[in-house]
C-alpha cells in the first residue's frame, strides 16, 4: 500500500502547487470550471459569436457590399425566361438550377452542372446577362468564418465545435456560480469598481441562457457526425456518406439513357398547381431541372423558408414534359428531421426582419457576455496581485486584440470593399486579406502600446473608420444612398445608418476610455 500513500501525497503536493486548485465544494468547483472554460477559448468564442451575429444579416451585408445588383426585376415569368437563358448558356448540362430573386436576396442566378463541372450566371433586372458586379464574399465571409475560422481544410470546424462545447460548459457552470440567482435578477450596481461589469455579465448571462444553449447545441448538432464519427464508421462501410444516403430522402434516380427530346412545359402550368398548394405571393425560392434534354426531365420546386423552422423547405416535384405532379420526396426520418430543425433554428432563415433583429440583439448580448467575462477575469486577478506576471500581460493584450481588434478588422473588411477598385483581380481574396492583416496589426499594436492607450486608440480608430466609411460611400457614388432612400432599399440605407450608430457608440466608448486614462495618469 506504500504506492497509494505516495500517490496521495503527490496529488496533494500538486493541488497545493497550482494557484487556484479545485475545491471539494460544488459551487467552488463550478466557479473554477466557469472561469477557466470561459477563459481558455474566450477570445475565439468572442470572434465566433460576433461573426455569427453578423451572419444573421449576411444577405443584407452582401447587398451593401455588392451595390451593383439590381433591386427591381421587370420580367414577369422569371422561370420561363431563365429556362430560355439556360438553353443558350447551359445546353447539354445534366442539371439546371434557377435561384429566383427575393427582397432579402436580390440575386437572380442561374447555375448548372454535369457531375463536378459547374457553371453559373447572374441576370440583371431585365433578365440580361450583362450585369457587372464587383467580386466580394460579402456577408458570406462572416458566415463561413463563424464555423470554419477560415481554416476549413485544417480542422477549423473541429476547433469551432470544441469552442461550442466549452461555451456549453461555461453556460451550465455559470448558472451555479450565482448564489443569489433571483434576488439579483434585475440588479446593476453602481459605484464600486468592477461591480457594474460583474452585474452586466451576470444579467446578460441569465438573459442569454436560452439563446446560448440553443446556439451551442444546434451548432454542435449540425456537424454531429464530424464530432462523433465513431458510430457511423462502425455501422456503415462508407461512414458518413452511407449514413447520409439512409437519412437524407432522395427521389428515384432518372434513367440516363432516356430518349433525347428537350420538351419543357410552360412554367405557368406548374405555377397554377403550386399556387393551390402554397398560397401567397413569392413562394418559390428555387427551381431545379434534372436532365433537361431528356424526355423524362423532372422539375423540383423549392419553397421559401419563412414558413418553416426546418432548414429543409417544402418541395414539389413535376414532370418537365407534361407539367403533372410526380411523387414527392419521402419524409425525413425523425432524427434527421430533428437535426434539420436545429440547423434551421441555428441559421434562422425563417426569421422575418423583427425576429432577425431580435436574434441579432441576443447575439450582441452573448458577445458582450464573453467580452465582459474576459475583462472581469483579468481585473479580479490584477486587483489581487502586487506584481504582474507574463500570464496577465498575455491575457490583457489578447483581450484588446480580440475585442477592439476584431471590430477594427471587420470595419477594415468593409472599408476595403469600397476602397479597392471594382475591377481588381482576385478582389474577394484581397478583402479577406485586409480583414486578417488589420486583426494582426491590432494585435501588434496592443502588444507595443500601454494598455489604456491601446484600448483607446483602437476604439477611436474603429469609430473614425465607421464615419469615414460612411463618407467614402457617399463621396464615391452619392446617388446610391439617395436611390436606396427613395426606393426604400432598407438593407442599403439600414447599413449606412448602422455605420453611423456603431461609430457613435464607439466614439462614446473612446471618450470614456480617454477620460479614464487621463484620470489614471493624474493619480
Amino acid at each position: 500500500m506504500a504506492w497509494v500513500s505516495d500517490r496521495n501525497s503527490l496529488v496533494n503536493t500538486y493541488l497545493q502547487s497550482i494557484p487556484y486548485p479545485m475545491k471539494p465544494d460544488f459551487r467552488k468547483c463550478m466557479i473554477w470550471l466557469h472561469t477557466y472554460s470561459g477563459l481558455i477559448l474566450g477570445w475565439l468564442l468572442f470572434a465566433i459569436f460576433v461573426t455569427g451575429t453578423l451572419s444573421y444579416f449576411n444577405h443584407e451585408i452582401s447587398q451593401w457590399m455588392k451595390p451593383e445588383h439590381d433591386k427591381k426585376y421587370h420580367i414577369n415569368n422569371q422561370v420561363n425566361h431563365s429556362i430560355t437563358q439556360l438553353k443558350l448558356h447551359a445546353q447539354g448540362e445534366q442539371r439546371w438550377q434557377i435561384l429566383l430573386p427575393s427582397e432579402r436576396i436580390p440575386q437572380w442566378m442561374l447555375r448548372w452542372n454535369t457531375g463536378q463541372k459547374r457553371g453559373s450566371l447572374i441576370l440583371n433586372g431585365n433578365g440580361e446577362t450583362t450585369q457587372k458586379i464587383r467580386a466580394s464574399r460579402g456577408g458570406d465571409f462572416f458566415r463561413t468564418f463563424h464555423y470554419t475560422l477560415h481554416i476549413r481544410q485544417y480542422g477549423g470546424r473541429y476547433i469551432a465545435g470544441i469552442a461550442a462545447m466549452f461555451m456549453l460548459i461555461a453556460t451550465f457552470s455559470g448558472i451555479f456560480t450565482h448564489r443569489r440567482f433571483f434576488r439579483d435578477f434585475f440588479t446593476l450596481r453602481k459605484g464600486k469598481k468592477g461591480k457594474f461589469l460583474i452585474d452586466i455579465h451576470a444579467l446578460l448571462g441569465i438573459v442569454t441562457i436560452p439563446f446560448s444553449l440553443m446556439i451551442c447545441i444546434s451548432g454542435l448538432m449540425i456537424y454531429l457526425t464530424l464530432y462523433i464519427p465513431w458510430s457511423d464508421q462502425h455501422f456503415y462501410a462508407d461512414g458518413e456518406n452511407k449514413l447520409n444516403s439512409y437519412t437524407i430522402p432522395t427521389l428515384v434516380k432518372l434513367d440516363p439513357n432516356a430518349q433525347d427530346i428537350e420538351r419543357i412545359v410552360d412554367f405557368s402550368v406548374i405555377k397554377d398547381q403550386i399556387q393551390r398548394q402554397w398560397p401567397g405571393k413569392h413562394q418559390i425560392a428555387r427551381v431545379t431541372i434534372e436532365q433537361p434534354q431528356k424526355i423524362n426531365a423532372r422539375i423540383i420546386v423549392e419553397r421559401v423558408k419563412d414558413s418553416t423552422v426546418s432548414r429543409q423547405a417544402q418541395r414539389l416535384v413535376f414532370s418537365a414534359s407534361t407539367g403533372e405532379a410526380l411523387d414527392n420526396y419521402p419524409k425525413y426520418i425523425t432524427p434527421a428531421q430533428v437535426r434539420q430543425v436545429l440547423w434551421g433554428i441555428h441559421e434562422a432563415k425563417f426569421a422575418d426582419i423583427p425576429l432577425r433583429w431580435m436574434f441579432f440583439a441576443l447575439g450582441c448580448a452573448a458577445s458582450a457576455l464573453i467580452a465582459t467575462g474576459l475583462i472581469i477575469w483579468l481585473n479580479k486577478r490584477l486587483a489581487r496581485v502586487k506584481q504582474r506576471h507574463i500570464g496577465h500581460f498575455i491575457v490583457e493584450r489578447l483581450n484588446i486584440a480580440a475585442i477592439s481588434g476584431l471590430l477594427l478588422a471587420i470595419i477594415g473588411y468593409f472599408v476595403s470593399n469600397r476602397a479597392f477598385p471594382v475591377i481588381l483581380e482576385a478582389r474577394e481574396n484581397a478583402e479577406v486579406q485586409v480583414f486578417f492583416i488589420s486583426w494582426l496589426m491590432a494585435l501588434c499594436h496592443a502588444v507595443v502600446r500601454p494598455v489604456t492607450k491601446a484600448w483607446y486608440e483602437q476604439v477611436a480608430l474603429a469609430s473614425v473608420s465607421c464615419f469615414g466609411l460612411f463618407l467614402l460611400d457617399i463621396i464615391q457614388e452619392p446617388q446610391r444612398l439617395i436611390n436606396a432612400i427613395l426606393d426604400n432599399n432598407m438593407p442599403y440605407w439600414g447599413f449606412s445608418v448602422m455605420l453611423l450608430l456603431v461609430g457613435s457608440i464607439l466614439y462614446q466608448t473612446a471618450n470614456w476610455l480617454h477620460h479614464r486614462q487621463v484620470k489614471a495618469d493624474k493619480v
Partner: protein
C-alpha cells in the same frame, strides 16, 4: 400586435421585479406589504401568460412564435435592469 405583446411583457417583468423587496425599496424608497407582493406577483405572472397566449395567437407558426416570445422577454429583462440602473444613477 407585437408592440402590445412587448408592452405586456414589460409590465410583467416590471411587476415581477417590484414583487422583490430589494427592487421595490429601490423604486419607492419604502418597504412593501405582503399584499403588494402578492399583487405584483399575480399581475406579473398573469401578464406574462397573456403575452404568451397573444404571441401564440399571431400568424407565426407555434415554434417561431415561441422564439419571438423568449427573445422579447430577454430584451425586456435587460430593459428593466437598465431602468433600475437609471433610477440609481440618473443619466
Amino acid at each position: 400586435m407585437m408592440l402590445s405583446i412587448l408592452l405586456s411583457q414589460l409590465i410583467a417583468t416590471l411587476c415581477l421585479s417590484l414583487s422583490m423587496d430589494k427592487h421595490y425599496k429601490l423604486a419607492f424608497n419604502q418597504p412593501k406589504s405582503l399584499r403588494l407582493t402578492r399583487l405584483f406577483t399575480g399581475i406579473g405572472w398573469l401578464m406574462l401568460l397573456l403575452s404568451l397566449i397573444a404571441t401564440m395567437g399571431t400568424s407565426y407558426i407555434g415554434a417561431i412564435a415561441l422564439v419571438y416570445w423568449l427573445g422579447m422577454l430577454s430584451i425586456n429583462i435587460v430593459g428593466v435592469a437598465f431602468l433600475y440602473y437609471v433610477k440609481i444613477r440618473p443619466l
